[in-house]
């Protein structure tokens, strides 16, 4: 079967980014994927802007709290205010990053950052630590894995999340060392319990200060000899990371994870093994690995197209790229992430999101199918997310105690999503297309799997009152299908 450039390019932009933007539609059939990939790389080459969402007021209060002399001037109210403002700021950062995924031309950079965020998964209530770690993912996501690993390992967010501030000589806390080996580099079964214990000794004294800067506390560090993965010496944390990087299993483990995320969760062992060799021999050059993947013929094989279930964030970003919108109730996007099971900056645990079929159960699937209608204002967000006490600490957003009120009609509680969709891009993209080809054209832009049966249903339900109404209703309905969940 001959696959069109359009389908290949859509495949590429769904995997190396968050799906085609409406303004790209005209270009999709024109270029070969190699050319499209080059453009993606170029757009992602610039160093990202640091994202700061903390207000001056919060920064000021936070600095007072860090300063031993000024700390006593803060009263109980102000201390609580700092916590509340931090919680709100992490939510703002979540939405800010989601917006970046929707609007930036640097799609590859944000997609890589998104992947690394799930790989180096950390949950932290401190807005400043969150911002710093997010910047690491965005800045080093296409560099080399060794640099990225070392940056993450020195981040306040991860060190605190994995309790390394408690890891001291004679009183080790092995959490950080264990997850570095099990989840970040080599994978289970490729090291011994003794390796973990010895590595933990090498990481003693690694911590961070309130500003989020890495601090090495020499007096807590264990200077004795350690034996890690067969090597012996007076190792520090960096030495251990180097030993782990020297071990080819690390290249294999990371390549497998990248392949399952970007290509197909059914692995092709021969290809993965070749990629892992290349990754290792290229000193863990991530950009080179991604180029090989996205420009190889096998990547565009039909068995790799349309077989991946979009993650909730990919789904939400992808819809907004195709139908740009302004949301009055930004918070709805946060609740949708929560209901669908993937909140940026709040991974379930250090192992990240498991992905694939685990995204889908009866509630999440029905919610996914209804979201396009909600954006189009024909459906209400009458579904309540579960409470999250790590974020809310038993309070509601207004700070009062979180006790359920008397039962109410659900839609009154959560309300309409109130999105204003800008349809002009879609309407002009389809300007030259004849009416009888219109539905085919819309379907081809939206779906990565064949869908003749679902197209029949849409054609029966389409609003034919005007060309505009036709385009709108066909788009929203095609997005409300199981097929649209695939990429």
């Amino acid at each position: 079967m001959e696959i069109s450039n359009q389908l290949k390019n859509q495949h590429l932009i769904w995997r190396a980014g968050f799906g085609p933007a409406v303004e790209q539609l005209g270009n999709l059939p024109e270029y070969k994927p190699e050319k499209f990939y080059k453009a993606l790389v170029k757009a992602s080459a610039k160093e990202p802007q640091y994202i700061n969402v903390a207000s001056d007021h919060l920064i000021d209060l936070y600095e007072q709290r860090q300063n031993a002399g000024k700390r006593k001037n803060l009263d109980e109210m102000q201390r609580r205010e700092i916590n509340r403002m931090q919680q709100a700021a992490v939510r703002t950062l979540n939405l800010h990053w989601l917006k970046e995924m929707v609007t930036t031309p640097a799609q590859l950079r944000e997609k890589m950052a998104f992947f690394w965020h799930g790989h180096f998964a950390s949950r932290n209530g401190n807005i400043f630590y969150n911002q710093l770690l997010l910047h690491v993912f965005r800045k080093y996501g296409l560099s080399d894995f060794g640099t990225l690993l070392k940056q993450v390992s020195r981040s306040a967010s991860m060190l605190y999340f994995l309790n390394n501030q408690q890891n001291r000589k004679g009183r080790p806390n092995e959490n950080f060392a264990r997850e570095v080996m099990e989840l970040f580099t080599m994978g289970r079964g490729n090291y011994t319990e003794k390796d973990v214990k010895e590595a933990a000794r090498a990481f003693t004294g690694w911590t961070a200060n309130g500003k989020g800067e890495f601090v090495f506390r020499e007096n807590f560090h264990d200077n004795g000899e350690k034996e890690v993965l067969g090597k012996t010496g007076n190792f520090n944390g960096d030495d251990v990371l180097d030993i782990i990087l020297e071990n080819k299993q690390t290249a294999k483990f990371i390549t497998q994870k990248i392949y399952t995320f970007f290509v197909n969760d059914k692995m092709d062992d021969a290809i993965v093994s070749r990629l892992a060799d290349q990754f290792y021999n290229n000193k863990y050059d991530i950009a080179a690995l991604m180029e090989t993947i996205f420009t190889s013929d096998w990547f565009y094989d039909p068995k790799n197209i349309g077989v991946r279930i979009k993650s909730p964030v990919e789904l939400l970003a992808g819809i907004q790229r195709m139908i740009p919108m302004k949301l009055e109730n930004d918070y709805a996007l946060f609740n949708m992430q929560k209901i669908l099971g993937q909140q940026l900056l709040y991974p379930p645990n250090v192992a990240g999101w498991s992905g694939g079929r685990s995204w889908i159960d009866s509630s999440t699937l029905m919610m996914r199918l209804r979201i396009p209608q909600m954006f189009n204002d024909k459906d209400e967000l009458n579904v309540a997310p579960k409470q999250d006490d790590d974020i809310m600490m038993g309070r509601k957003t207004d700070g009062t105690a979180a006790v359920p009120a008397k039962a109410q009609a659900p839609k009154k509680v959560y309300g309409a999503v109130a999105a204003k969709i800008n349809w002009s891009g879609n309407i002009s993209q389809y300007e030259k297309i004849k009416k009888e080809q219109l539905l085919d054209a819309i379907k081809n832009n939206l779906l990565q799997v064949s869908a003749s049966k679902v197209q029949e249903v849409v054609s029966r339900n389409i609003d034919t009152s005007s060309r505009e109404a036709y385009i709108k209703s066909a788009t929203v309905q095609l997005m409300s299908t199981p097929e649209y969940q695939m990429c």
């Binding site: 349309g306 077989v307 929560k338 409470q387 038993g394």
Partner: protein, 400 residues
């Protein structure tokens, strides 16, 4: 057996509907309905980390009063169970259940190397993993895997909520989350989705990834129909408090009286994360819990079903023994659980109250692994293979 007319019609209409259903759906339709008298479990999750020491109160323990000058509950205010043990004053129904022999209390329940993050600790309770393992299925979900292998409707476990918890996600099957049977019906009934489903038709290759979504969609639509119809078969006539929990228990009761095949119901209340001003917050939540459990157990007793139902409570962790500076408590470790049923084999306070003189960094030490409680319920109440579901051997206790 006499088949009531309404149920006969029910079966009849299912039979007609099944003719239009895809092949993989049909297997269940011929299956026998679960006969009444079957045992069910109701899990009540107290989200946020309920303070166990102000729930089951050691009223003769000086350390308790010393460490909680602003929060401890005086003996004369609390609901007395024994010489040493009282309940939070709002839990009057629980005291009555205790007096009737329908309540058991298990103290010091927890797990090794406790985690103090809500999310992570809840994950551990839901998945029944060890604290250094990350599992993406839950213990009830894996029970469901065994019960619903090849079946069309995963209704053996139901969560009364909009969103499904990890506890109810299995490897091959996921339970259904439904807050209001009418609303799930309403949503799923949308014309368009039904048309999409119907037009997709039966007999596709299961290997195609999108087929998994169609299969889930078919299960959701058919479960929604089934749950809605069952909920209207014998709706309870009893009055329940107009709270989320009250309405949830009312739904559960109506389904228990129907012929639905559900064995596990799951419902949550919160937030019990009482860092600040614990007294008022816990009391308001307990009042809701007490009133809803009263309506539910009264209803069950009236209908002669109290011995068929085992209701238990749990929370992701207890709280620290000493109060904090904001008249609240911070995250702790081991906690107590309530077990409520007319079919308890052991009643009352089942084990020793926590030893406040022997703490670990200011926290209670656990001496009952929560996985033992699960194992007991799975094996003795649900007749399931606990070892397989929990992925290891755990002790069975004697309460059922």
């Amino acid at each position: 057996m006499l088949i009531r007319r309404k149920e006969f019609l029910q079966i009849g209409s299912l039979a007609t509907a099944s003719m239009m259903m895809p092949k993989f759906l049909k297997a269940f339709e011929s299956g026998a309905l679960v006969p009444p008298g079957n045992k069910v479990v109701v899990v009540l999750q107290l989200s946020g980390g309920n303070d166990g020491l102000n729930t089951v109160i050691p009223v003769r323990n000086d350390i308790y009063y010393k460490l909680r000058p602003g929060l401890s509950i005086k003996m004369d205010k609390a609901a007395t169970l024994t010489d040493e043990v009282s309940l939070h004053p709002a839990l009057t129904t629980f005291k009555n259940l205790y007096d009737e022999g329908n309540l058991a209390i298990l103290n010091n329940v927890g797990y090794p190397n406790p985690d103090r993050s809500h999310f992570r600790s809840m994950d551990i309770w839901h998945s029944a993993s060890k604290s250094n393992e990350y599992w993406n299925t839950g213990w009830i979900g894996r029970y469901l895997d065994a019960q619903c292998s090849g079946c069309d409707k995963p209704t053996q476990a139901l969560e009364v909520d909009d969103v499904l918890s990890l506890a109810l996600k299995g490897e091959t099957a996921n339970a259904i989350a439904v807050k209001d049977p009418r609303r799930l019906y309403g949503t799923s009934n949308e014309k368009f989705f039904k048309q999409v489903m119907k037009n997709h038709g039966p007999d596709h290759h299961d290997e195609e990834p999108v087929e998994y979504l169609y299969k889930t969609m078919a299960q959701t639509l058919s479960s929604a129909d089934y749950i809605f119809k069952q909920s209207r078969l014998h709706p309870t006539g009893a009055t329940y408090p107009n709270t989320g929990l009250g309405n949830g228990f009312k739904t559960i009761a109506s389904l228990i009286y129907s012929d639905i095949n559900t064995k596990v119901y799951y419902i949550s209340l919160g937030s019990f994360d009482t860092h600040v001003g614990q007294g008022a917050q816990q009391e308001r939540l307990f009042t809701q819990m007490n009133d809803a459990v009263k309506a539910f157990t009264d209803d069950l007793k009236k209908n002669g079903r109290m011995s068929d139902v085992l209701l238990f409570t749990f929370s992701e962790f207890g709280r620290r023994v000493a109060q904090n500076a904001s008249n609240g408590t911070d995250h702790g470790t081991a906690n107590n659980m309530f077990l409520i049923s007319g079919g308890l084999k052991q009643k009352g306070v089942l084990n020793a109250m926590p030893d406040l003189a022997d703490l670990s960094d200011g926290d209670l030490k656990y001496n009952v692994d929560f996985k033992d409680v699960y194992a007991t319920i799975l094996k003795n109440w649900l007749n399931a293979d606990a070892g397989k579901i929990l992925g290891g051997h755990y002790n069975t206790l004697g309460f059922v």
